[in-house]
Point group: C2
Chain length 250, copies 2
């Protein structure tokens, strides 16, 4: 936990927050702070900085925020489209997305997605939230990624959801991660793009129709490399390669 | 399981193997093959290809290998040096290393490594093996990475262990992943290097002495990006960025 994320429901007063859950336990047992020490905090979807420990007891910690500052959102804005994975994998993707500053995560149906995954409690925002907060806490970020579940494949693209909404006067570089002989990311990446949307397939990959369809709506296929990766590794690998290209063109 | 890994102890006859563990269960319940079908197999540290199902029963599957071929080792050869992580993280790193074709993994002491981690049963080769095989199975590779545990920091480098053994007439590009303002990987990478050794720090990072010492023995610092990653994500990110640079310079 590199940043203690504070929410409205922790607030007890102007700038004062009371914690009595795993965060209080972390402050007591891992950080081992005493009254008067400071810890790093961030307000959910808000600024981050230091908070001073006002009070520590066996079951609660009270903090008062000092010098909080807005942290600029990472550029380019990254949206992820993932074929809805099994719940255990989804947990990892929620953590990774928040940790690596993804702006929105769209979980869609695909041919090789098991229908039962759409019945998982983890498709509910309330159940996703602890994993997102864990990721923010690790990555020292505060902005909660937007997570949407779309239970059909074509309509997601055709109806222009989320990052694909062209009426919203936005344009996003559309990238499609495939496992075949596609070119490497540098050949399809545009360093000047302010927004990038990457689609990552299910275990077993996209079926040919899905790849053709996404290409017909402007997604450019690329290969992460010679590996056969699990979905959670493909997410980290794709974001890491984009970050390298961003740094190279700065 | 994209490849069923077969070992000498499964062998019952020339080219014939009998499985009665989770692999047999996978062949029966996930692949749902019948006698006469083929499955993808690899011999541990050997060739890979197809095997024909000879016999399926409630508790065993017998396979006969056909047309196995050697798969060339990935280039460049990659060695990883990781500060020994907590056991749960080590499991993930073992899987990832095998999945992504790492040649050797050196687990070393560092200032921010808890001493108790060296007492973990997972420092024993026998306990590591299932995770390595899981990774090979996922990545469709057969070559078991070499894993070594070194319980001291400086001697590991000074005594020239593993990839650092210069008497063995080898040279390896030495890279050091840091979390500070180091340059991006492209500025320190050498596309012509046949062997690359990457050092990845503990949770909390290397201490300044460690960074200075590694630099003094030729490790070039680089930054994976703006993130604060967990060790397992840093491993995937570093390997992915190397793979992108390799593809770009092919």
């Amino acid at each position: 936990m590199n940043l203690i994320i504070l929410t409205e429901s922790d607030k007890i007063d102007e700038d004062a927050y009371r914690l009595s859950d795993y965060r209080a336990e972390h402050i007591r047992s891992v950080l081992r702070v005493e009254e008067g020490d400071t810890v790093e905090v961030g307000l959910l979807n808000g600024p981050q900085g230091k908070a001073r420990v006002q009070f520590v007891s066996g079951d609660a910690v009270e903090l008062r925020c000092e010098r909080l500052e807005e942290v600029p959102a990472p550029q380019p804005t990254i949206n992820l489209i993932c074929a809805l994975p099994r719940p255990q994998t989804l947990k990892k993707i929620l953590i990774t997305s928040a940790m690596m500053g993804v702006r929105s995560l769209h979980l869609i149906r695909a041919n090789r997605v098991e229908k039962s995954y759409f019945q998982s409690p983890l498709t509910e925002a309330e159940r996703q939230r602890p994993y997102l907060i864990e990721g923010l806490s690790q990555g020292k970020l505060t902005r909660l990624p937007e997570v949407c579940v779309h239970d059909r494949f074509r309509p997601f693209f055709e109806d222009g959801h989320g990052p694909l909404d062209e009426k919203a006067d936005r344009s996003t570089l559309r990238l499609l991660c495939t496992m075949d002989e596609a070119p490497s990311l540098d050949t399809v990446f545009e360093p000047s793009a302010a927004e990038v949307t990457i689609a990552i397939g299910p275990e077993g990959g996209w079926v040919p129709f899905e790849i053709e369809f996404m290409q017909s709506v402007g997604f450019r296929p690329f290969s992460l490399g010679r590996w056969i990766l699990r979905v959670e590794h493909a997410v980290t690998a794709a974001l890491s390669q984009i970050e390298l290209l961003r740094m190279m063109h700065k």
